[in-house]
């Protein structure tokens, strides 16, 4: 397998927050240059509790609260990286990353290139993203394609506790800036998209079984969650679980692939699958126009055109700000995915 596990202590059932906390804990312990900062991450341990207990364990110069300035957080991260640290800033919600964009886009992303490697920026910006929690338009956004559009940044989105830990460790060890978006809807349990059904805890899901020690999942490697022949379904984050639930419900022999890293993209796994199935659907919660699905559609038609039996299908959020009361009419849930499945299989 891709996971490289070290040590021999056990495996523990964790939710996604606990797995992220474990990854941060391990990296703080392994590398004294790792530092964590962000709004409310210190004493309090973060509004989602991802950094709980870490300040107490590693001290205030390794894990600390910051002023409410995303520009400052990312900017000082670039400076700390220039000194030789490995900053892991948290942006409280992805919706609040925008004041830090100049530092990310013009600085962190390009410093290696513009200085011909005189300087690099091994920084991992963690941020909860995505909707499904009635958070309204400023606690629900999925801005990943803004970052995949920037050259010099890697974009990673886990879909389970197990992957979250291994990917976060790999992201922190990576010598380039990484944006690590955490689907907050599935922090405490996977989400089928059937919002009116009871919530399942992670403990019932096999990917809640997380090795307690160090392991990494290499960036740029997708994961085939279900092998199938009828079509290829590409998803990431929360939508992985919705896709699995719908495929099971419809009873179609889909190959479901969790992309996990959007950039660098595991094109090999995608190509192989689409060449086999001849059909490709990509699902994301983010808005449609210029979304990551557009990139996938372009790549698949460029590389697999002669294998395709139907146009690449995109299932996405609508091109509106994330609404509050109409959240479930907005969310690309089972009905939208089901209709798209029907359409792509008819061709």
């Amino acid at each position: 397998m891709m996971a490289e596990v070290e040590g021999k202590s056990g495996v523990k059932s964790m939710n996604m927050i606990e797995a992220i906390n474990s990854a941060l804990d391990i990296m703080l312990k392994r590398d004294e240059n790792t530092v964590i900062m962000g709004e409310d991450v210190g004493y309090f341990g973060g509004v989602f509790r991802a950094t709980a207990g870490l300040q107490e364990k590693y001290g205030k110069t390794r894990v600390f609260d910051t002023p409410i300035s995303e520009c400052g957080i990312i900017g000082v991260g670039v400076g700390m990286a220039a000194y030789g640290l490995r900053p892991v800033p948290e942006i409280q919600f992805a919706d609040y990353i925008y004041p830090g964009l100049d530092q990310l886009v013009s600085e962190a992303a390009r410093i290696r290139y513009r200085s011909a490697e005189d300087y690099v920026c091994p920084m991992t910006v963690r941020s909860p993203f995505g909707g499904g929690i009635f958070g309204g338009q400023t606690h629900s956004q999925s801005p990943e394609s803004m970052f995949t559009h920037i050259c010099g940044i890697k974009t990673v989105i886990p879909s389970s506790p197990h992957d979250a830990k291994g990917l976060l460790i790999a992201a922190i060890e990576d010598n380039d800036p990484v944006v690590f978006f955490e689907p907050k809807r599935i922090y405490n349990g996977p989400f089928s998209g059937y919002y009116d059904r009871p919530v399942e805890p992670w403990s019932k899901h096999e990917d809640s079984q997380v090795p307690e020690d160090y392991y990494r999942i290499d960036l740029g490697k997708a994961k085939i969650l279900r092998e199938g022949e009828a079509l290829t379904v590409l998803a990431y984050g929360t939508m992985v679980h919705v896709a699995q639930a719908v495929v099971a419900e419809v009873g179609i022999d889909a190959e479901i692939i969790d992309l996990r890293t959007l950039l660098p993209l595991d094109i090999e796994t995608i190509e192989k699958s689409v060449e086999k199935t001849g059909r490709c659907m990509v699902i994301h919660e983010a808005t449609r126009t210029s979304g990551f699905g557009a990139e996938i559609a372009a790549l698949v038609q460029e590389r697999c055109f002669y294998h395709l039996e139907a146009p690449v299908e995109r299932v996405t959020g609508f091109d509106t700000p994330y609404p509050h009361s109409l959240e479930w009419a907005y969310f690309p849930g089972p009905i939208r995915i089901g209709q798209a499945l029907e359409k792509i299989m008819k061709e």
Partner: protein
Amino acid sequence: MAKSAKSNIPPLKLHVPEPAFRPGDEADFSDIEVPPVDAIVRPDEAAAADSIKDLSFGLVRVLDDDAQASGSWNPGLTAEQLREMLRHMMLVRAFDDRMFRAQRQGKTSFYMKCTGEEATSVATTMALARDDMCFPSYRQQGILITRGYPLVQMMNQIYSNRGDHLLGRQLPIMYSAPEYGFFSISGNLTTQYPQAVGWAMASAAKGDSRISAVWCGEGSTAEGDFHSAMTFAAVYNAPVIMQVVNNQWAISSFSGFAGGERTTFAARAVGYGIAGLRVDGNDPLAVYSAMRWAADRARTNNGPTLIEYFTYRAEGHSTSDDPSAYRAAEEYAKWPLGDPVERLKAHLMAIGEWDDDRHQAQHDELQKTVREEQKKAEEKGTLGHGLHHPFDTMFTDVYEDMPWHLQEQCEQMLEEQRTKFGPDWEPK
């Protein structure tokens, strides 16, 4: 220690602020200096910013410990005006309690109270002209209540229901009310700051007589937008009043994480060369008076003012927060500047214009009003119980005219509803 550190030089140290008290500690605010009334006498509204720097470091007060109003900052309000102020503040409090409870009852997703900070939105609004423009953060519900915005409309917004004038699009409490001089609230902190300055610049450029006022928390002053706003306000001498509600806490971060360990927030004005006032935010008369001074100053082309209200966030940050995880219990009970409602009540009683019975009667009456308005609002639905705005409103107002792709997506969404609710389903 770093390998590169020179052994003959003491190592550098990173300072990370730490609040004085954490859970389990006994809070003790005896080091907070509360100067006497008129420690700094009220200057002329046209005074040069340079000549009044000390106001950025003082504390404007009107009510003394015996609840008497005195000194040069005493705005001399009539008993009727004082009672009106008290009534608005009590209504804000009653409203907050009710809506907080509604959230706990599952009727909406979120709520934020302003308990302990009522004076900073009520007294300030009373000192403005009715047509001055307000750019609030999320904690100034007192502006709307003071300007008489219908409570039921606020509740409709909180419930995201059929009556919500914002069509259920915004998180609860993110109101918008142009007829009441109230700008649309953003969830992104401090964005309203440069916008308020821009509004004031426009008003000045057009030779208007209206000014603007903007609010944010002390934590939000760390955002770049705050500093951009200060620069523009100073450069263009904009008729704007920039207010920092220093309630000591920004979620779990104390004011030290916005620079509060080193100087006051009002002192930010000094570096930009504009007027700064630091005010007892729990003294409604001082708050009124400071705002009046700044408003008169702005309206007479004497430029912008930065006001810091020194106050305390008596409750959690929001319904999603539990402050017992990060600050000492009982802090509010020990807060040396008291409670604004209690202080105004005591003042009215001290001047013989109020009594306990009237207070209790008003309390009961306001509770009843809020309950009645709540009933009306709930007839139009609560969040998640069906009575939302029609589905297609999701797609309107993204642009003035709906482009083809949104029209297609709207059709698709309606088709999805038909799949869900059956072929006979009609969009309403």
